[in-house]
């Protein structure tokens, strides 16, 4: 991230160390992950130790320290979704895209993540693709959602 962009984010949060979490989230929204250099820069600008920034970045499951794919597919593995077959959804994505849970495809198209409940248990099994919630998923629906992604990508 270039300095002007980073400075805009920092200024938005008043360069307050208490808003570190929000700052890191904004950086990730732009970069798709948390680059090491940006975290170092944040630590320097906020005058807090780098180890504290790293500590926070590794504490929250939201943050990724490695570059992620163009699209992010999050499967809810909470209890309600689990009993309704969330594991099957994960298996299907793993098989179709040749990607491990928590990993990214070689062509950087898709990152598959699992979370332990997104708080929408009534909609389970639930999947979030690029911030859009898809409830009551099954194999057919999953196929449709991800095929649409691929099509969209081919168009661009």
């Amino acid at each position: 991230m270039d300095d002007t962009k980073l400075n805009t984010i920092l200024d938005k949060h008043h360069r307050d160390p208490a808003e570190l979490l929000a700052i890191l989230m904004d950086i990730q929204a732009v970069e798709n992950y948390l680059p090491k250099d940006d975290m170092k820069q944040v630590a320097k600008e906020l005058k807090i130790p780098f180890s504290k920034v790293y500590s926070m970045a590794t504490f929250f499951a939201t943050f990724s320290l490695e570059p992620r794919g163009k699209h992010i597919c999050t499967v809810c593995m909470g209890t309600a979704c689990h009993v309704r077959g969330a594991a099957r959804l994960v298996d299907q994505v793993q098989r179709d895209f040749e990607v491990e849970a928590g990993g990214t495809t070689d062509d950087m198209f898709l990152t598959l993540e699992t979370v332990n409940c997104v708080g929408a248990c009534a909609l389970g099994p639930l999947m979030i693709v690029d911030g859009e919630y898809h409830g009551n998923m099954d194999a057919g629906k999953l196929d449709r959602v991800l095929r649409k992604l691929k099509k969209q990508d081919a168009k661009e």
């Binding site: 180890s51 790293y54 590794t58």
Partner: protein, 252 residues
């Protein structure tokens, strides 16, 4: 009645005896001051209490309520009654020690402490990743680095089962000045500091720092980087710090 302030005089009871103290004092410190033996791994009087090792458990009676709590981060209050070595406390401590043994099965400090309580083995599963790790995640090293040395080269990373004490990215801790305070304070001696060929090597933080040679006796003593940091903070010129403490004393 106004709310008690930190430092207000209070009286409280330990095992039926009455003692005076100040409101907000660490209960563990008071207990030890009056000669009661309470085990702990994560407590050090120089830094803030953390309450992670759960070994300093005692029973505290406040009003009608009686509960088991960690004494290191329990503030002394007016009228509390403390019981140090009840059956319940010993039972709880044993379980805590069993859990410690499953996390750091090879640590001598943990084993010795467990043996004192008759805990020779753990009923809990020992994870493969923990077998050679002696770190009890007490956080003393990072608290010392933070509060005393003011460097914060290291911190906790991850959480839950993946919680570790590490330098950022588990790479060379660039902020580390090699003072060795973390090594001194570590209850299980798991950080590892070696000095050879004029280099101080701290294994856990992957830090190698060349040692300064004393201008008087020619002995190597502290890392040069640390002396530079001292010079920057205190304003004492670097030349004055290039003499080892032994020689400096002999001059005086």
């Amino acid at each position: 009645m106004s709310h008690p302030k930190k430092g207000d005089k209070v009286t409280f009871k330990i095992e039926g005896r009455t003692y005076d103290g100040r409101y907000g004092d660490s209960l563990l410190e008071q207990l030890r001051k009056h000669g009661y033996e309470v085990p702990s791994l994560c407590y050090h009087e120089a830094v803030s209490p953390y309450g992670s090792c759960r070994l300093c458990l005692v029973e505290v009676k406040k009003g009608k309520k009686q509960k088991v709590t960690t004494s290191c981060n329990y503030p002394v209050q007016e009228g509390i009654e403390v019981f140090v070595n009840t059956e319940k406390v010993r039972r709880y401590r044993k379980v805590v020690l069993q859990l410690h043994l499953s996390k750091t099965p090879k640590s001598k400090a943990v084993r010795d402490l467990a043996a004192e309580y008759g805990v020779m083995e753990t009923p809990y599963e020992v994870q493969e990743q923990d077998k050679d790790n002696d770190c009890v995640l007490c956080g003393l090293c990072s608290r010392v680095c933070d509060e005393i040395v003011h460097v914060s080269a290291i911190s906790f990373t991850g959480r839950g089962q993946n919680k570790r004490m590490q330098s950022p990215y588990d790479e060379t801790a660039e902020a580390c000045i090699g003072c060795g305070a973390c090594v001194y304070v570590c209850p299980t001696d798991c950080i590892g500091l070696q000095e050879s060929d004029g280099i101080r090597h701290i294994e856990k933080w992957h830090r190698d720092l060349p040692l300064q040679t004393c201008e008087k006796c020619g002995k190597q003593f502290f890392p040069t980087f640390m002396l530079m940091e001292f010079s920057k903070r205190t304003g004492i010129s670097k030349d004055q710090l290039n003499i080892c403490p032994a020689c400096r004393n002999s001059v005086v």
